[in-house]
Amino acid sequence: MINIVLVSHADLGDALIRAAEMIAGHAEGLYSVSLLPGESPEGFGAKLEEALQEIEGQETLVLIDLFGGTPYNVAARQVLKENVECVTGANLPMLLELVMARDDASLSELAEEITQVGQESVKNLGPMLRK
């Protein structure tokens, strides 16, 4: 099973996991590492390494909340590891897709797939519904 690690500002990762489990039921292999207000990038990096140690070497998708933010700056290096992919822009549709599709796709396919899902999940409802 592919592990999913959410890397986010504040509680976003935990909240996304709770929201995904509310829809898809309890899922194994979900982790969340949060950057807290006032925390140094080094401290956050150490926390991330510690969390990843448990699943070192296993196939892992790191889902980062914000391209260009500190969690991205710190976590992007993980992509150099074998068996790790990183995708930014974490949202609920992406996490749901991950949880539901991870048994049927390779890690790199999954990374591509959720990048598409994330982009397609953003809709401006006004022009679609106000006719």
């Binding site: 207000p37 006032g38 925390e39 140094s40 990038p41 080094e42 401290g43 956050f44 914000l66 391209f67 260009g68 933010g69 500190t70 991205y72 700056n73 992007a76 290096r77 150099l80």
Partner: protein, 164 residues
């Protein structure tokens, strides 16, 4: 003495390039270049790529060791007024100042907490040694402002220094 007040911004922020810098500072002021002065990042090509990737295409990102950065900035004073210099620590700010780039204003945007540092204002923490460095720079006449992004509450370091 160099007319360093022409530099757009000299900022201590241990997160370097991140949301606040790109989304707020660079939208409010016409920066054309970010110069990161940090010995660690200067020796880490991958990290340079990560930081540059997230910067908008119209913003040039350069990374130097502190020593090389002083030389590079002194050698090329074009566009200084739209240059943001980013440093990780008060020690780097002192090395820059003592190394010959005697800026008049210093912005502290973020220094994360870690063992040995205490919180001094909002998301800014400093050790005893770092506070001493900031006092040294203040006594040299550098105007130090603690401010994450324009529009947020700010504080002059001189107003805090007596209590630290």
């Amino acid at each position: 003495m160099i007319a360093i007040e022409e530099l757009g911004l000299v900022r201590i922020d241990d997160r370097l390039i991140h949301g606040q810098v790109i989304a707020v500072w660079c939208k409010q002021r016409p920066f054309s270049r970010i110069v990161i002065l940090d010995d660690g990042v200067a020796a880490d090509a991958f990290m340079q790529e990560v930081l540059s990737l997230a910067a908008p295409p119209n913003l040039k990102v350069d990374v130097f060791s502190i020593k090389d950065g002083i030389e590079a900035l002194n050698a090329d004073k074009l566009h200084w007024e739209t240059t943001m210099v980013l440093l990780k620590t008060p020690l780097a700010a002192k090395q820059l100042y003592d190394g010959g780039l005697q800026y008049r204003a210093l912005n502290i945007g973020g220094i994360g907490s870690r063992p040995g540092r205490k919180n001094i204002f909002k998301n800014i923490a400093a050790s005893e040694e770092e506070i001493a460095i900031l006092k040294y720079l203040m006594d040299e006449g550098v105007e130090i402002t603690l401010l994450t992004v324009p529009g947020e509450k700010s504080k002059a370091f001189s107003a805090l220094a007596g209590k630290l």
